[in-house]
Protein backbone atom coordinates (compact mmCIF):
# COMPACT_ATOMS: atom_id res chain seq x y z
CA UNK A 1 0.00 0.00 0.00
CA UNK A 2 2.58 2.55 -1.04
CA UNK A 3 -0.08 5.03 -2.05
CA UNK A 4 -1.60 4.87 1.38
CA UNK A 5 1.69 5.48 3.08
CA UNK A 6 2.52 8.40 0.83
CA UNK A 7 -0.84 9.96 1.46
CA UNK A 8 -0.66 9.29 5.13
CA UNK A 9 2.72 10.99 5.41
CA UNK A 10 1.36 14.07 3.80
CA UNK A 11 -1.57 14.24 6.14
CA UNK A 12 -1.46 16.96 8.65
CA UNK A 13 -0.79 16.04 12.25
CA UNK A 14 -3.95 16.38 14.30
CA UNK A 15 -3.60 18.85 17.10
CA UNK A 16 -4.58 16.63 19.97
CA UNK A 17 -2.69 13.59 18.88
CA UNK A 18 0.87 13.69 20.13
CA UNK A 19 2.08 10.23 21.14
CA UNK A 20 5.26 10.56 23.14
CA UNK A 21 6.97 7.19 22.56
CA UNK A 22 5.71 5.18 25.55
CA UNK A 23 7.39 1.89 26.54
CA UNK A 24 6.70 -1.19 24.41
CA UNK A 25 4.15 -2.71 26.75
CA UNK A 26 2.07 0.47 26.85
CA UNK A 27 2.33 0.71 23.05
CA UNK A 28 0.81 -2.74 22.71
CA UNK A 29 -1.90 -1.88 25.20
CA UNK A 30 -2.77 1.06 23.00
CA UNK A 31 -2.76 -1.09 19.87
CA UNK A 32 -4.96 -3.77 21.38
CA UNK A 33 -8.33 -2.12 20.64
CA UNK A 34 -7.29 -1.52 17.03
CA UNK A 35 -6.08 -5.03 16.29
CA UNK A 36 -9.38 -6.93 15.91
CA UNK A 37 -10.67 -4.52 13.27
CA UNK A 38 -7.32 -4.33 11.50
CA UNK A 39 -6.87 -8.10 11.37
CA UNK A 40 -10.47 -8.59 10.28
CA UNK A 41 -9.99 -6.20 7.35
CA UNK A 42 -6.69 -7.74 6.32
CA UNK A 43 -8.18 -11.24 6.34
CA UNK A 44 -11.35 -10.29 4.52
CA UNK A 45 -9.91 -7.96 1.87
CA UNK A 46 -6.19 -8.50 1.33
CA UNK A 47 -6.08 -12.31 1.33
CA UNK A 48 -8.76 -12.73 -1.37
CA UNK A 49 -6.81 -10.34 -3.60
CA UNK A 50 -3.58 -12.25 -3.18
CA UNK A 51 -5.46 -15.46 -3.96
CA UNK A 52 -7.03 -13.78 -7.01
CA UNK A 53 -3.54 -12.93 -8.21
CA UNK A 54 -2.53 -16.59 -7.80
CA UNK A 55 -5.64 -17.90 -9.61
CA UNK A 56 -5.07 -15.48 -12.46
CA UNK A 57 -1.88 -17.34 -13.33
CA UNK A 58 -3.67 -20.68 -13.63
CA UNK A 59 -5.76 -22.45 -16.18
CA UNK A 60 -8.64 -23.64 -14.04
CA UNK A 61 -12.17 -24.39 -15.09
CA UNK A 62 -14.68 -25.62 -12.52
CA UNK A 63 -16.68 -27.56 -15.12
CA UNK A 64 -13.86 -29.97 -15.91
CA UNK A 65 -12.31 -32.33 -13.41
CA UNK A 66 -8.83 -31.36 -14.51
CA UNK A 67 -6.72 -29.81 -11.76
CA UNK A 68 -5.67 -26.19 -11.96
CA UNK A 69 -2.58 -25.81 -14.12
CA UNK A 70 -0.01 -23.03 -13.87
CA UNK A 71 -0.02 -21.14 -17.15
CA UNK A 72 1.80 -17.94 -16.35
CA UNK A 73 0.46 -14.82 -18.02
CA UNK A 74 -1.67 -16.50 -20.68
CA UNK A 75 -4.94 -15.41 -19.00
CA UNK A 76 -3.74 -11.83 -19.21
CA UNK A 77 -2.78 -12.31 -22.86
CA UNK A 78 -6.32 -13.44 -23.62
CA UNK A 79 -7.77 -10.48 -21.73
CA UNK A 80 -6.01 -8.18 -24.15
CA UNK A 81 -6.58 -10.23 -27.32
CA UNK A 82 -10.15 -11.48 -26.77
CA UNK A 83 -12.67 -9.13 -28.39
CA UNK A 84 -15.26 -9.69 -25.65
CA UNK A 85 -12.85 -8.73 -22.91
CA UNK A 86 -11.90 -5.57 -24.73
CA UNK A 87 -15.50 -4.67 -25.47
CA UNK A 88 -16.39 -5.02 -21.77
CA UNK A 89 -13.53 -2.69 -20.93
CA UNK A 90 -14.82 -0.11 -23.43
CA UNK A 91 -18.38 -0.40 -22.13
CA UNK A 92 -17.10 0.17 -18.59
CA UNK A 93 -15.14 3.24 -19.63
CA UNK A 94 -18.05 4.75 -21.55
CA UNK A 95 -20.56 3.94 -18.80
CA UNK A 96 -18.39 5.42 -16.07
CA UNK A 97 -17.20 8.50 -17.94
CA UNK A 98 -20.62 9.59 -19.22
CA UNK A 99 -22.44 8.82 -15.97
CA UNK A 100 -19.85 10.59 -13.80
CA UNK A 101 -19.57 13.70 -15.97
CA UNK A 102 -23.31 14.22 -16.46
CA UNK A 103 -24.06 13.48 -12.79
CA UNK A 104 -21.45 15.98 -11.68
CA UNK A 105 -22.75 18.74 -13.99
CA UNK A 106 -26.28 18.15 -12.72
CA UNK A 107 -25.01 17.99 -9.15
CA UNK A 108 -23.32 21.40 -9.36
CA UNK A 109 -26.51 22.92 -10.77
CA UNK A 110 -28.69 21.26 -8.15
CA UNK A 111 -26.37 22.18 -5.31
CA UNK A 112 -26.37 25.84 -6.40
CA UNK A 113 -30.18 25.69 -6.48
CA UNK A 114 -30.45 23.99 -3.10
CA UNK A 115 -28.11 26.55 -1.56
CA UNK A 116 -30.68 29.30 -2.23
CA UNK A 117 -33.20 30.33 0.35
CA UNK A 118 -36.20 28.68 -1.23
CA UNK A 119 -39.46 27.50 0.21
CA UNK A 120 -39.35 23.96 1.58
CA UNK A 121 -35.66 23.51 0.86
CA UNK A 122 -35.18 20.72 3.40
CA UNK A 123 -38.11 18.76 2.04
CA UNK A 124 -36.95 19.19 -1.55
CA UNK A 125 -33.53 17.94 -0.56
CA UNK A 126 -35.10 14.93 1.14
CA UNK A 127 -36.99 14.02 -2.04
CA UNK A 128 -33.87 14.56 -4.11
CA UNK A 129 -31.67 12.10 -2.22
CA UNK A 130 -34.22 9.28 -2.38
CA UNK A 131 -32.86 7.69 -5.62
CA UNK A 132 -29.64 7.02 -3.76
CA UNK A 133 -31.41 5.26 -0.89
CA UNK A 134 -33.74 2.97 -2.80
CA UNK A 135 -32.51 -0.60 -3.29
CA UNK A 136 -30.65 -0.47 -6.64
CA UNK A 137 -32.10 -3.79 -7.80
CA UNK A 138 -35.62 -2.55 -7.07
CA UNK A 139 -35.18 0.72 -8.91
CA UNK A 140 -33.45 -0.95 -11.87
CA UNK A 141 -36.32 -3.43 -12.28
CA UNK A 142 -38.89 -0.65 -12.08
CA UNK A 143 -37.02 1.48 -14.59
CA UNK A 144 -36.95 -1.53 -16.89
CA UNK A 145 -40.70 -2.09 -16.61
CA UNK A 146 -42.98 0.69 -15.40
CA UNK A 147 -40.74 3.56 -16.49
CA UNK A 148 -39.11 2.54 -19.80
CA UNK A 149 -41.64 0.11 -21.26
CA UNK A 150 -42.35 1.04 -24.91
CA UNK A 151 -46.15 0.75 -24.61
CA UNK A 152 -47.15 1.54 -21.03
CA UNK A 153 -44.01 3.22 -19.69
CA UNK A 154 -44.21 6.52 -17.86
CA UNK A 155 -41.20 7.97 -19.70
CA UNK A 156 -42.75 7.63 -23.14
CA UNK A 157 -45.98 9.16 -21.86
CA UNK A 158 -44.12 12.13 -20.36
CA UNK A 159 -42.19 12.61 -23.59
CA UNK A 160 -45.20 12.21 -25.90
CA UNK A 161 -45.88 15.99 -26.05
CA UNK A 162 -42.36 16.28 -27.51
CA UNK A 163 -43.07 13.88 -30.36
CA UNK A 164 -41.62 10.75 -28.75
CA UNK A 165 -43.85 7.75 -29.29
CA UNK A 166 -43.40 4.20 -28.05
CA UNK A 167 -39.62 4.11 -28.11
CA UNK A 168 -38.29 0.75 -26.91
CA UNK A 169 -35.52 2.33 -24.88
CA UNK A 170 -33.88 -0.84 -23.61
CA UNK A 171 -33.57 -2.45 -27.03
CA UNK A 172 -32.81 0.64 -29.11
CA UNK A 173 -30.60 2.46 -26.57
CA UNK A 174 -29.55 -0.19 -24.02
CA UNK A 175 -26.34 1.43 -22.83
CA UNK A 176 -27.90 4.89 -22.84
CA UNK A 177 -30.80 3.62 -20.71
CA UNK A 178 -28.47 2.11 -18.12
CA UNK A 179 -26.38 5.26 -18.06
CA UNK A 180 -29.54 7.32 -17.54
CA UNK A 181 -30.50 5.19 -14.54
CA UNK A 182 -26.97 5.48 -13.17
CA UNK A 183 -27.14 9.27 -13.52
CA UNK A 184 -30.47 9.25 -11.69
CA UNK A 185 -28.98 7.20 -8.84
CA UNK A 186 -25.62 8.98 -8.49
CA UNK A 187 -26.56 12.64 -9.01
CA UNK A 188 -27.99 12.86 -5.45
CA UNK A 189 -24.76 11.48 -4.01
CA UNK A 190 -22.66 14.06 -5.85
CA UNK A 191 -25.12 16.84 -5.03
CA UNK A 192 -24.68 16.14 -1.32
CA UNK A 193 -20.89 16.39 -1.63
CA UNK A 194 -20.97 19.62 -3.68
CA UNK A 195 -23.57 21.08 -1.32
CA UNK A 196 -21.31 20.32 1.65
CA UNK A 197 -18.64 22.33 -0.16
CA UNK A 198 -20.94 25.24 -0.97
CA UNK A 199 -22.10 25.50 2.61
CA UNK A 200 -18.50 25.80 3.74
CA UNK A 201 -18.04 29.04 1.82
CA UNK A 202 -18.60 32.20 3.83
CA UNK A 203 -21.46 34.16 2.31
CA UNK A 204 -20.20 37.62 3.29
CA UNK A 205 -17.29 37.34 0.84
CA UNK A 206 -19.70 36.66 -2.01
CA UNK A 207 -21.94 39.46 -0.79
CA UNK A 208 -18.97 41.84 -0.79
CA UNK A 209 -18.13 40.87 -4.37
CA UNK A 210 -21.70 41.50 -5.39
CA UNK A 211 -21.74 44.90 -3.77
CA UNK A 212 -18.56 45.67 -5.68
CA UNK A 213 -20.52 45.00 -8.85
CA UNK A 214 -19.27 41.54 -9.82
CA UNK A 215 -21.73 39.72 -12.11
CA UNK A 216 -23.16 36.31 -11.32
CA UNK A 217 -21.00 34.52 -13.85
CA UNK A 218 -17.83 36.19 -12.65
CA UNK A 219 -18.64 35.36 -9.04
CA UNK A 220 -19.20 31.71 -9.98
CA UNK A 221 -16.05 31.40 -12.07
CA UNK A 222 -13.69 33.37 -9.88
CA UNK A 223 -14.98 32.62 -6.40
CA UNK A 224 -17.45 29.76 -6.11
CA UNK A 225 -15.83 27.37 -8.56
CA UNK A 226 -12.29 27.59 -7.13
CA UNK A 227 -13.71 26.96 -3.67
CA UNK A 228 -15.79 24.01 -4.92
CA UNK A 229 -13.01 22.43 -6.91
CA UNK A 230 -11.71 19.95 -4.33
CA UNK A 231 -15.28 18.88 -3.58
CA UNK A 232 -16.04 18.40 -7.27
CA UNK A 233 -12.86 16.37 -7.64
CA UNK A 234 -13.69 14.27 -4.59
CA UNK A 235 -17.22 13.59 -5.86
CA UNK A 236 -15.90 12.72 -9.32
CA UNK A 237 -13.28 10.31 -8.01
CA UNK A 238 -15.53 8.58 -5.47
CA UNK A 239 -18.30 8.43 -8.07
CA UNK A 240 -15.92 6.86 -10.61
CA UNK A 241 -14.81 4.24 -8.12
CA UNK A 242 -18.39 3.28 -7.33
CA UNK A 243 -19.73 3.45 -10.91
CA UNK A 244 -16.88 1.37 -12.40
CA UNK A 245 -18.23 -1.42 -10.20
CA UNK A 246 -21.79 -1.17 -11.54
CA UNK A 247 -23.40 -4.60 -11.47
CA UNK A 248 -26.95 -4.38 -10.13
CA UNK A 249 -28.37 -2.28 -12.99
CA UNK A 250 -26.76 -4.39 -15.72
CA UNK A 251 -27.93 -7.63 -14.14
CA UNK A 252 -31.49 -6.43 -13.54
CA UNK A 253 -32.12 -4.45 -16.71
CA UNK A 254 -30.29 -6.06 -19.63
CA UNK A 255 -28.23 -9.03 -18.41
CA UNK A 256 -25.42 -7.53 -20.46
CA UNK A 257 -27.41 -7.57 -23.70
CA UNK A 258 -28.54 -7.16 -26.39
CA UNK A 259 -25.45 -9.03 -27.56
CA UNK A 260 -22.64 -7.65 -25.44
CA UNK A 261 -23.68 -4.00 -25.77
CA UNK A 262 -24.10 -3.45 -22.01
CA UNK A 263 -21.64 -6.06 -20.71
CA UNK A 264 -19.24 -4.07 -18.54
CA UNK A 265 -16.23 -5.49 -16.73
CA UNK A 266 -17.97 -6.54 -13.51
CA UNK A 267 -20.75 -8.26 -15.45
CA UNK A 268 -18.29 -9.96 -17.81
CA UNK A 269 -16.28 -11.16 -14.84
CA UNK A 270 -19.48 -12.51 -13.31
CA UNK A 271 -20.31 -14.36 -16.55
CA UNK A 272 -16.82 -15.81 -16.75
CA UNK A 273 -16.84 -16.97 -13.15
CA UNK A 274 -20.42 -18.11 -12.62
CA UNK A 275 -21.65 -19.10 -16.07
CA UNK A 276 -18.47 -20.24 -17.84
CA UNK A 277 -16.71 -21.26 -14.56
CA UNK A 278 -13.49 -19.92 -16.07
CA UNK A 279 -11.79 -19.17 -12.75
CA UNK A 280 -8.40 -18.21 -14.19
CA UNK A 281 -9.84 -15.81 -16.75
CA UNK A 282 -12.19 -14.18 -14.25
CA UNK A 283 -9.31 -13.73 -11.81
CA UNK A 284 -7.14 -12.06 -14.47
CA UNK A 285 -9.98 -9.68 -15.28
CA UNK A 286 -10.35 -9.01 -11.56
CA UNK A 287 -6.68 -8.12 -11.21
CA UNK A 288 -6.92 -5.69 -14.14
CA UNK A 289 -10.03 -4.12 -12.61
CA UNK A 290 -8.14 -3.65 -9.35
CA UNK A 291 -5.27 -1.94 -11.14
CA UNK A 292 -7.60 0.47 -12.95
CA UNK A 293 -9.54 1.28 -9.79
CA UNK A 294 -6.38 1.70 -7.72
CA UNK A 295 -5.14 4.32 -10.19
CA UNK A 296 -8.33 6.34 -9.68
CA UNK A 297 -8.26 5.57 -5.95
CA UNK A 298 -4.73 6.87 -5.49
CA UNK A 299 -5.91 10.28 -6.65
CA UNK A 300 -8.99 10.01 -4.46
CA UNK A 301 -6.96 9.12 -1.38
CA UNK A 302 -4.62 12.03 -1.95
CA UNK A 303 -7.58 14.35 -2.25
CA UNK A 304 -9.27 12.97 0.85
CA UNK A 305 -6.02 13.57 2.70
CA UNK A 306 -6.07 17.24 1.71
CA UNK A 307 -9.78 17.82 2.33
CA UNK A 308 -9.45 15.93 5.58
CA UNK A 309 -6.59 18.15 6.71
CA UNK A 310 -8.67 21.19 5.89
CA UNK A 311 -11.62 19.92 7.90
CA UNK A 312 -9.49 19.08 10.88
CA UNK A 313 -7.81 22.46 10.89
CA UNK A 314 -11.19 24.14 10.96
CA UNK A 315 -12.87 21.81 13.41
Amino acid sequence: MTVVEQVARRTHRARRITPSAPPARRRWARRLPLLPALIYMIVITQIPFIVTLWYSLQNWNLTSNAKAKFTGLSNYASVFTNANYRSSLLVSVEMTAVAVIVSMLLAVALALLLNQKVLGRGFARTLLITPFLIMPVASALLWKTTMLDPTYGLVNWLLSPFGVHHVAWLSSHPLGSIIAVLIWRWTPFMTLIVLAGLQGQPLDVLEAARVDGAGAFVIFRRMIFPHLRPYIELGTLLGSIYIVNTFDEVYSMTQGGPGTSTTNMPYYLYEQAFQAYNIGGAAALGVITVIIVMIIASFALRLIASVFRFEEAVG
Partner: protein
Amino acid sequence: MTTIARPRPRAAGHARGRQVKRWSARLAWTVLVWVAAIAFFLPVLWMVLTAFKPETAAYSYPPKFTFSPTLSEFRTVFSRGIGPYLENSVFATLVSTVLVLLLALPASYALSISPVGKWRDSLFFFISTKMLPIVAAIVPIYIVARDVHLLDNVYALVLLYAGMNLPIAVWMLRSFMLEVPGEVLEAARIDGAGLFREITRVIMPIIMPGIAASALICIIFAWNEFFFAVNLTSTVAATMPVFLVGFITSEGLFWAQLSAAATVASVPIIIIGWIAQKQLVRGLSMGALK
Protein backbone atom coordinates in the same frame (compact mmCIF):
# COMPACT_ATOMS: atom_id res chain seq x y z
CA MET B 1 -28.95 38.14 -0.31
CA THR B 2 -31.55 35.96 -1.90
CA THR B 3 -29.56 34.69 -4.81
CA ILE B 4 -26.02 34.12 -5.87
CA ALA B 5 -26.60 34.01 -9.57
CA ARG B 6 -28.53 37.27 -9.85
CA PRO B 7 -26.55 40.48 -9.86
CA ARG B 8 -27.94 43.15 -7.62
CA PRO B 9 -29.25 46.05 -9.68
CA ARG B 10 -26.91 48.84 -8.75
CA ALA B 11 -28.43 51.66 -10.72
CA ALA B 12 -30.58 53.92 -8.59
CA GLY B 13 -33.82 52.12 -9.34
CA HIS B 14 -37.04 52.24 -7.41
CA ALA B 15 -36.86 50.33 -4.17
CA ARG B 16 -40.19 48.70 -4.82
CA GLY B 17 -39.18 47.52 -8.28
CA ARG B 18 -36.11 45.95 -6.78
CA GLN B 19 -38.18 44.13 -4.21
CA VAL B 20 -40.57 42.78 -6.84
CA LYS B 21 -37.58 41.59 -8.82
CA ARG B 22 -36.13 39.90 -5.77
CA TRP B 23 -39.38 38.13 -5.02
CA SER B 24 -39.83 36.98 -8.59
CA ALA B 25 -36.28 35.64 -8.60
CA ARG B 26 -36.95 33.77 -5.40
CA LEU B 27 -40.11 32.33 -6.90
CA ALA B 28 -38.21 31.19 -9.99
CA TRP B 29 -35.58 29.46 -7.87
CA THR B 30 -38.26 27.78 -5.78
CA VAL B 31 -40.05 26.47 -8.85
CA LEU B 32 -36.78 25.17 -10.32
CA VAL B 33 -35.80 23.41 -7.07
CA TRP B 34 -39.18 21.76 -6.83
CA VAL B 35 -39.26 20.67 -10.48
CA ALA B 36 -35.85 19.04 -10.02
CA ALA B 37 -36.78 17.39 -6.74
CA ILE B 38 -40.03 15.99 -8.11
CA ALA B 39 -38.31 14.78 -11.30
CA PHE B 40 -35.83 12.78 -9.24
CA PHE B 41 -38.51 11.51 -6.88
CA LEU B 42 -41.03 10.57 -9.59
CA PRO B 43 -39.84 6.97 -10.20
CA VAL B 44 -40.05 6.29 -6.44
CA LEU B 45 -43.51 7.84 -6.22
CA TRP B 46 -44.57 5.81 -9.25
CA MET B 47 -43.36 2.62 -7.56
CA VAL B 48 -45.47 3.27 -4.47
CA LEU B 49 -48.53 4.27 -6.54
CA THR B 50 -48.27 1.20 -8.78
CA ALA B 51 -47.95 -1.02 -5.72
CA PHE B 52 -51.47 -0.02 -4.65
CA LYS B 53 -53.03 -0.57 -8.08
CA PRO B 54 -54.87 -3.64 -9.23
CA GLU B 55 -52.78 -5.38 -11.89
CA THR B 56 -55.06 -4.23 -14.73
CA ALA B 57 -54.64 -0.55 -13.81
CA ALA B 58 -50.85 -0.91 -13.84
CA TYR B 59 -51.05 -1.60 -17.57
CA SER B 60 -52.82 1.36 -19.02
CA TYR B 61 -52.06 4.08 -21.49
CA PRO B 62 -52.15 6.90 -20.63
CA PRO B 63 -50.83 5.96 -17.17
CA LYS B 64 -53.44 6.15 -14.43
CA PHE B 65 -52.88 8.53 -11.53
CA THR B 66 -56.31 7.98 -10.01
CA PHE B 67 -57.58 4.52 -9.15
CA SER B 68 -59.16 2.75 -6.21
CA PRO B 69 -56.21 1.60 -4.08
CA THR B 70 -55.97 -2.04 -3.12
CA LEU B 71 -53.72 -4.08 -0.86
CA SER B 72 -54.24 -7.24 -2.89
CA GLU B 73 -50.80 -7.10 -4.54
CA PHE B 74 -49.11 -6.87 -1.14
CA ARG B 75 -51.12 -9.91 -0.06
CA THR B 76 -49.99 -11.79 -3.18
CA VAL B 77 -46.36 -10.87 -2.51
CA PHE B 78 -46.54 -12.17 1.05
CA SER B 79 -48.31 -15.35 -0.01
CA ARG B 80 -45.54 -15.94 -2.56
CA GLY B 81 -43.10 -16.48 0.28
CA ILE B 82 -41.31 -13.16 0.68
CA GLY B 83 -41.04 -13.99 4.41
CA PRO B 84 -37.77 -15.98 4.50
CA TYR B 85 -36.08 -13.44 2.21
CA LEU B 86 -37.12 -10.59 4.50
CA GLU B 87 -35.89 -12.54 7.53
CA ASN B 88 -32.51 -13.18 5.90
CA SER B 89 -32.17 -9.53 4.94
CA VAL B 90 -33.02 -8.35 8.44
CA PHE B 91 -30.69 -10.91 10.02
CA ALA B 92 -27.71 -10.23 7.72
CA THR B 93 -28.17 -6.47 8.05
CA LEU B 94 -28.58 -6.26 11.82
CA VAL B 95 -25.99 -8.89 12.81
CA SER B 96 -23.38 -7.45 10.45
CA THR B 97 -24.06 -3.96 11.79
CA VAL B 98 -23.62 -5.12 15.39
CA LEU B 99 -20.38 -6.85 14.41
CA VAL B 100 -19.19 -3.67 12.69
CA LEU B 101 -19.86 -1.57 15.79
CA LEU B 102 -18.14 -4.09 18.08
CA LEU B 103 -15.02 -3.93 15.93
CA ALA B 104 -15.16 -0.26 14.96
CA LEU B 105 -15.73 1.32 18.39
CA PRO B 106 -12.46 0.13 19.99
CA ALA B 107 -10.61 0.67 16.70
CA SER B 108 -11.73 4.26 16.34
CA TYR B 109 -10.88 4.86 20.02
CA ALA B 110 -7.34 3.70 19.22
CA LEU B 111 -7.24 6.07 16.26
CA SER B 112 -8.49 9.19 18.03
CA ILE B 113 -8.65 9.48 21.81
CA SER B 114 -5.82 7.13 22.66
CA PRO B 115 -3.98 6.99 19.34
CA VAL B 116 -1.54 4.27 18.29
CA GLY B 117 1.80 5.27 16.80
CA LYS B 118 1.01 4.98 13.11
CA TRP B 119 -2.64 5.93 13.30
CA ARG B 120 -2.57 7.69 9.93
CA ASP B 121 -1.36 4.58 8.11
CA SER B 122 -4.07 2.47 9.73
CA LEU B 123 -6.73 5.02 8.90
CA PHE B 124 -5.75 5.12 5.26
CA PHE B 125 -5.47 1.36 5.11
CA PHE B 126 -9.12 1.14 6.17
CA ILE B 127 -10.28 3.61 3.56
CA SER B 128 -8.21 2.07 0.77
CA THR B 129 -9.93 -1.30 1.25
CA LYS B 130 -13.25 0.42 0.59
CA MET B 131 -11.99 1.41 -2.83
CA LEU B 132 -11.00 -2.07 -3.95
CA PRO B 133 -13.56 -3.46 -6.39
CA ILE B 134 -15.63 -6.21 -4.79
CA VAL B 135 -16.01 -8.03 -8.09
CA ALA B 136 -12.30 -8.76 -8.17
CA ALA B 137 -12.47 -10.68 -4.90
CA ILE B 138 -15.56 -12.75 -5.63
CA VAL B 139 -13.76 -15.74 -7.17
CA PRO B 140 -11.62 -16.67 -4.15
CA ILE B 141 -14.43 -15.73 -1.76
CA TYR B 142 -16.77 -18.08 -3.60
CA ILE B 143 -14.24 -20.93 -3.57
CA VAL B 144 -13.38 -20.47 0.11
CA ALA B 145 -17.09 -20.27 1.00
CA ARG B 146 -17.69 -23.48 -0.97
CA ASP B 147 -14.84 -25.29 0.78
CA VAL B 148 -15.88 -24.29 4.31
CA HIS B 149 -19.58 -24.96 3.59
CA LEU B 150 -20.67 -21.34 3.89
CA LEU B 151 -22.35 -21.23 0.48
CA ASP B 152 -26.03 -20.36 0.80
CA ASN B 153 -25.39 -19.56 4.45
CA VAL B 154 -26.49 -16.22 5.83
CA TYR B 155 -23.38 -16.01 8.02
CA ALA B 156 -21.25 -15.67 4.90
CA LEU B 157 -23.19 -12.49 4.12
CA VAL B 158 -22.84 -11.29 7.73
CA LEU B 159 -19.05 -11.62 7.57
CA LEU B 160 -18.75 -9.95 4.16
CA TYR B 161 -21.13 -7.08 4.93
CA ALA B 162 -19.17 -6.42 8.10
CA GLY B 163 -15.99 -6.18 6.04
CA MET B 164 -17.75 -3.91 3.55
CA ASN B 165 -18.97 -1.46 6.21
CA LEU B 166 -16.21 -1.56 8.80
CA PRO B 167 -13.99 1.10 7.13
CA ILE B 168 -16.89 3.55 6.86
CA ALA B 169 -17.82 3.02 10.51
CA VAL B 170 -14.22 3.44 11.70
CA TRP B 171 -13.86 6.74 9.85
CA MET B 172 -17.21 8.06 10.98
CA LEU B 173 -16.86 7.05 14.62
CA ARG B 174 -13.35 8.46 14.72
CA SER B 175 -14.55 11.83 13.45
CA PHE B 176 -17.16 11.85 16.22
CA MET B 177 -14.64 10.82 18.89
CA LEU B 178 -12.36 13.70 17.88
CA GLU B 179 -15.17 15.98 19.03
CA VAL B 180 -14.94 14.74 22.62
CA PRO B 181 -13.29 17.70 24.36
CA GLY B 182 -9.86 16.89 25.78
CA GLU B 183 -10.59 18.97 28.90
CA VAL B 184 -13.59 16.83 29.76
CA LEU B 185 -11.51 13.67 29.50
CA GLU B 186 -8.79 15.19 31.65
CA ALA B 187 -11.28 16.37 34.26
CA ALA B 188 -12.70 12.85 34.47
CA ARG B 189 -9.21 11.41 34.92
CA ILE B 190 -8.33 13.91 37.63
CA ASP B 191 -11.53 12.94 39.42
CA GLY B 192 -10.16 9.41 39.47
CA ALA B 193 -12.38 7.88 36.82
CA GLY B 194 -11.00 4.60 35.51
CA LEU B 195 -10.97 3.65 31.85
CA PHE B 196 -14.35 1.93 32.14
CA ARG B 197 -16.03 4.97 33.71
CA GLU B 198 -14.29 7.26 31.26
CA ILE B 199 -15.77 5.29 28.35
CA THR B 200 -19.27 4.73 29.72
CA ARG B 201 -19.81 8.08 31.45
CA VAL B 202 -17.85 10.54 29.32
CA ILE B 203 -17.23 9.24 25.81
CA MET B 204 -20.34 7.18 25.12
CA PRO B 205 -22.91 9.92 25.85
CA ILE B 206 -21.07 12.35 23.55
CA ILE B 207 -20.63 9.97 20.62
CA MET B 208 -24.06 8.32 20.88
CA PRO B 209 -25.42 10.26 17.85
CA GLY B 210 -22.33 9.16 15.93
CA ILE B 211 -22.95 5.52 16.81
CA ALA B 212 -26.55 5.85 15.66
CA ALA B 213 -25.55 7.54 12.40
CA SER B 214 -22.85 4.95 11.66
CA ALA B 215 -25.28 2.12 12.35
CA LEU B 216 -27.88 3.63 10.03
CA ILE B 217 -25.36 4.01 7.19
CA CYS B 218 -24.22 0.40 7.68
CA ILE B 219 -27.83 -0.76 7.64
CA ILE B 220 -28.54 1.05 4.36
CA PHE B 221 -25.53 -0.45 2.57
CA ALA B 222 -25.98 -3.98 3.92
CA TRP B 223 -29.69 -4.04 3.15
CA ASN B 224 -29.24 -2.94 -0.46
CA GLU B 225 -26.27 -5.21 -1.23
CA PHE B 226 -26.85 -7.52 -4.18
CA PHE B 227 -23.59 -8.82 -5.67
CA PHE B 228 -22.53 -11.09 -2.79
CA ALA B 229 -26.12 -12.12 -2.17
CA VAL B 230 -26.76 -13.29 -5.72
CA ASN B 231 -23.45 -15.13 -6.04
CA LEU B 232 -23.18 -16.76 -2.62
CA THR B 233 -26.79 -17.69 -1.83
CA SER B 234 -29.48 -19.63 -3.64
CA THR B 235 -32.54 -20.81 -1.72
CA VAL B 236 -31.88 -20.93 2.02
CA ALA B 237 -30.01 -17.69 2.69
CA ALA B 238 -31.24 -15.48 -0.16
CA THR B 239 -32.06 -11.87 0.71
CA MET B 240 -34.57 -9.31 -0.59
CA PRO B 241 -32.66 -8.18 -3.71
CA VAL B 242 -32.45 -11.84 -4.76
CA PHE B 243 -36.20 -12.18 -4.25
CA LEU B 244 -36.74 -9.17 -6.50
CA VAL B 245 -34.59 -10.39 -9.39
CA GLY B 246 -36.76 -13.50 -9.38
CA PHE B 247 -39.26 -11.26 -11.17
CA ILE B 248 -36.95 -10.91 -14.19
CA THR B 249 -37.74 -14.36 -15.50
CA SER B 250 -40.77 -15.80 -13.77
CA GLU B 251 -43.26 -13.01 -13.26
CA GLY B 252 -41.78 -10.09 -15.10
CA LEU B 253 -45.15 -9.11 -16.43
CA PHE B 254 -46.83 -8.43 -13.10
CA TRP B 255 -45.97 -4.80 -12.59
CA ALA B 256 -48.20 -4.09 -9.62
CA GLN B 257 -46.87 -7.15 -7.82
CA LEU B 258 -43.28 -6.20 -8.64
CA SER B 259 -43.93 -2.66 -7.38
CA ALA B 260 -45.45 -3.99 -4.17
CA ALA B 261 -42.42 -6.21 -3.55
CA ALA B 262 -40.05 -3.33 -4.39
CA THR B 263 -41.95 -1.06 -2.02
CA VAL B 264 -41.67 -3.58 0.82
CA ALA B 265 -37.95 -3.90 0.09
CA SER B 266 -37.20 -0.17 -0.23
CA VAL B 267 -39.47 1.92 1.94
CA PRO B 268 -37.97 1.00 5.36
CA ILE B 269 -34.49 1.90 4.13
CA ILE B 270 -35.64 5.09 2.41
CA ILE B 271 -37.12 6.25 5.72
CA ILE B 272 -33.94 5.34 7.61
CA GLY B 273 -31.97 7.28 4.99
CA TRP B 274 -34.20 10.32 5.38
CA ILE B 275 -33.62 10.21 9.14
CA ALA B 276 -29.86 9.86 8.69
CA GLN B 277 -29.56 12.31 5.79
CA LYS B 278 -27.47 14.82 7.73
CA GLN B 279 -24.89 12.11 8.37
CA LEU B 280 -25.08 10.67 4.87
CA VAL B 281 -22.40 12.96 3.45
CA ARG B 282 -20.07 12.11 6.27
CA GLY B 283 -20.54 8.40 5.63
CA LEU B 284 -20.34 8.60 1.86
CA SER B 285 -17.16 10.65 1.83
CA MET B 286 -15.72 8.31 4.49
CA GLY B 287 -15.84 11.01 7.11
CA ALA B 288 -13.89 13.52 5.00
CA LEU B 289 -16.82 15.94 4.78
CA LYS B 290 -19.22 16.98 7.48
